[in-house]
C-alpha cells in the first residue's frame, strides 16, 4: 500500500469540494491508478476529462508514472498563467 497526497486546483478543487486529500492505493501503482481512486472517493471529479493533466512531486508526468508512499499527486486544470 502507498498513501499518496492529492491536491486539487482551480475548477477541479470545486469539483472535488476540497483542495487537498490523501488516498491509499495498492502498489505498484501509477498516477492513473491514483486518479481512478480519486474519482471513486470524490464523485464530483468524475466531471474531469478522461485524462486530466497531472503532476507528481511538482513535475508534470504522464499517467503511467509510478507513485510511491508519501508522493504528492496534483490534478491540474488546463493552465492559464502568464
Amino acid at each position: 500500500m502507498a498513501k499518496v497526497s492529492v491536491r486539487f486546483f482551480a475548477r477541479y478543487a470545486e469539483l472535488a469540494g476540497c483542495d487537498w486529500s490523501a488516498v491509499n492505493v495498492s502498489t505498484p501503482a501509477t498516477v492513473g491508478d491514483v486518479i481512478a481512486r480519486v474519482r471513486e472517493v470524490f464523485p464530483g471529479t468524475q466531471a474531469m476529462p478522461p485524462r486530466p493533466l497531472a503532476a507528481l512531486n511538482r513535475r508534470q508526468v504522464k499517467h503511467d508514472a509510478l507513485v510511491n508512499d508519501g508522493d504528492e499527486v496534483a490534478l491540474l486544470p488546463p493552465l492559464s498563467g502568464g
Binding site: 491536491r7 482551480a10 503532476a55 511538482r58 486544470p77 488546463p78 493552465l79 492559464s80 498563467g81 502568464g82
Partner: protein, 144 residues
C-alpha cells in the same frame, strides 16, 4: 528576487536584477489584464511550490541556451485589476537577438508549463475560469 508576488510588479526593480554593463540589449515582456467581455479583474491562483520550481527550471533552460543572457520573471497572484501586469519578464544579453529570444522563450514556456489558473471577474458579479483556448468556461463556484 522572488518569482511570485501578491503586490504590483515593479518593472524597474526587475530590470535592475538583469541589466549590467556587459549586456547592451534588454527585452521585457509584460502581460496585463485585458478588459475582455466586461472583465473587471482576474483572480490568479497557483500551485505555488510547483510554479516556483517550474519557473526556476525555465530560467535555467534559458540560461543554458543563451549563456550570456540573464533573465528574471515575476508572476503576480491574487486579484489583479484590468490594466495591471500579471507577469513581467526581463531578459538582458550582450546583443538584442539573444535578449528577444530568451524573453520569448520564457513567456512561451511559462504559458505551457506553469500551474497557474485565472478566474475572470465580470462587471455583473459573475466569475468564470479561463480555459487555455482563451474562452471562459464553467463556474467559479467556490468563491460565489
Amino acid at each position: 528576487m522572488t518569482h511570485l508576488t501578491r503586490h504590483p510588479i515593479d518593472v524597474g526593480d526587475l530590470l535592475a536584477t538583469v541589466q549590467s554593463a556587459e549586456r547592451g540589449g534588454t527585452c521585457v515582456f509584460l502581460g496585463t489584464v485585458r478588459n475582455d467581455a466586461d472583465v473587471t479583474s482576474i483572480d490568479y491562483a497557483a500551485y505555488e511550490a510547483m510554479t516556483f520550481e517550474e519557473i526556476e527550471r525555465i530560467l535555467a533552460e534559458a540560461h543554458e541556451r543563451w549563456p550570456e543572457s540573464r533573465v528574471m520573471l515575476q508572476h503576480r497572484l491574487g486579484l489583479i485589476p484590468v490594466g495591471e501586469a500579471s507577469i513581467a519578464i526581463a531578459a538582458a544579453a550582450p546583443h538584442r537577438d539573444a535578449a528577444f529570444a530568451a524573453c520569448r522563450y520564457v513567456i512561451e514556456e511559462v504559458k505551457k508549463r506553469v500551474p497557474i489558473w485565472k478566474k475572470e471577474l465580470h462587471v455583473d458579479g459573475s466569475a468564470t475560469w479561463v480555459d487555455p483556448s482563451g474562452k471562459p468556461v464553467a463556474g467559479g463556484l467556490r468563491d460565489r
